[in-house]
């Protein structure tokens, strides 16, 4: 009887697979390189007293209050500072006003609160915040209504 020749041990050649995996590794390494992925950010902080509950009743006195009113269904925004309309109604003018305030001795840690009508476009709210930050104020916060009779802006 003829016996089949003993099968020789076969070893798959992994070298091409390693090549492909290396290429994939480099691709994902670059894609996920977290240090390379940056984004522009404006850091804001909600006041710790904000939110529903007893703390919300605490009145927060802002040093500078900026209010924005929608104009022309999102086409622009009317700017108010301390409840008075800004003369030239530009964000450059707002920045100049805030710089003036800073130069007059306002503390940069003083709270600046930006409030806006609900229909104002987000870009104008960010511009107002940007103007305050450019003027050197560090503590810029948003007025957020929590609704309800006892809750005020935070």
């Amino acid at each position: 009887m003829k016996r089949a020749a003993s099968s020789r041990e076969t070893v798959p050649n992994l070298a091409p697979m390693v090549d492909v995996i290396m290429v994939l590794l480099v691709f994902f390494l670059l894609g996920a390189s977290l240090d390379l992925v940056t984004q522009g950010v404006l850091q804001a902080e909600l006041d710790p007293r904000s939110g529903p509950g007893p703390g919300a009743a605490v009145e927060i006195v802002a040093q500078v209050r900026i209010a924005l009113e929608d104009v022309g269904d999102g086409a622009g925004a009317k700017i108010y500072v301390m409840e008075r309309a800004l003369a030239d109604n530009t964000f450059e003018g707002l920045r100049a006003f805030l710089v003036q305030r800073r130069e007059a001795g306002a503390d940069p840690d003083n709270m600046v609160v930006v409030g806006a009508e609900t229909t104002v476009r987000w870009r104008y709210v960010v511009k107002a915040m940007d103007a305050a930050l450019q003027a050197g104020f560090r503590n810029v916060q948003f007025a957020v209504s929590f609704g309800g009779p006892a809750d005020g802006d935070t």
Partner: protein, 164 residues
């Protein structure tokens, strides 16, 4: 004369290397998916005072993208949350009323040593009320650290004379 035996052919065992490389690939695949989920295409507003920071520096965070709704109505938006819940990458549309519950649950799971941040990536053309809703949810969920995403620099001029 003595002759040394012919050297046996040597085959490099690549199997452990393949195992390690596979693990690395899975890691970076997941990491790059998270990065792309966090950089959801949104027309961010422009801000001169914005700081460019590596995402890594933001630490433990949940990202909420606010984009105009597909039907183009200014009073409607879509909220897309991007987050890593410890087991899988979440990237899904969220109803406005679910944002608070998500933030509360997420704040409860946040590490003790690190404070959770909420990254708000809102389209520049959405109305403030839609962003305010997210800020309010953060307030209710006791998340005080808010990061507003913006393009760094002055808004480029549009051909019609306006600003982007």
């Amino acid at each position: 004369m003595f002759r040394p035996p012919a050297p046996a052919s040597m085959t490099l065992n690549l199997a452990p290397m393949v195992d390690v490389l596979m693990c690395l690939i899975v890691f970076f695949l997941l990491a790059s998916k998270l990065v792309s989920a966090e950089h959801y295409p949104v027309n961010l507003p422009w801000a001169v005072a914005a700081r460019e920071v590596p995402s890594q520096e933001l630490g433990d965070r949940v990202t909420i993208n606010v984009r105009p709704s597909a039907d183009g109505r200014a009073d409607r938006v879509e909220y897309v949350v991007s987050d890593w819940d410890g087991q899988q990458i979440i990237e899904r549309l969220l109803a406005p009323e679910d944002i608070e519950a998500l933030l509360r649950a997420r704040a409860g799971r946040a590490g003790r040593g690190e404070e959770l941040r909420c990254v708000v990536r809102a389209d520049r053309d959405v109305q403030y009320q839609h962003v305010e809703l997210v800020l309010r949810a953060c307030g209710r969920a006791r998340i005080a650290k808010i990061v507003l995403a913006a393009n760094k620099g002055a808004a480029p001029a549009r051909p019609d004379g306006g600003e982007e």
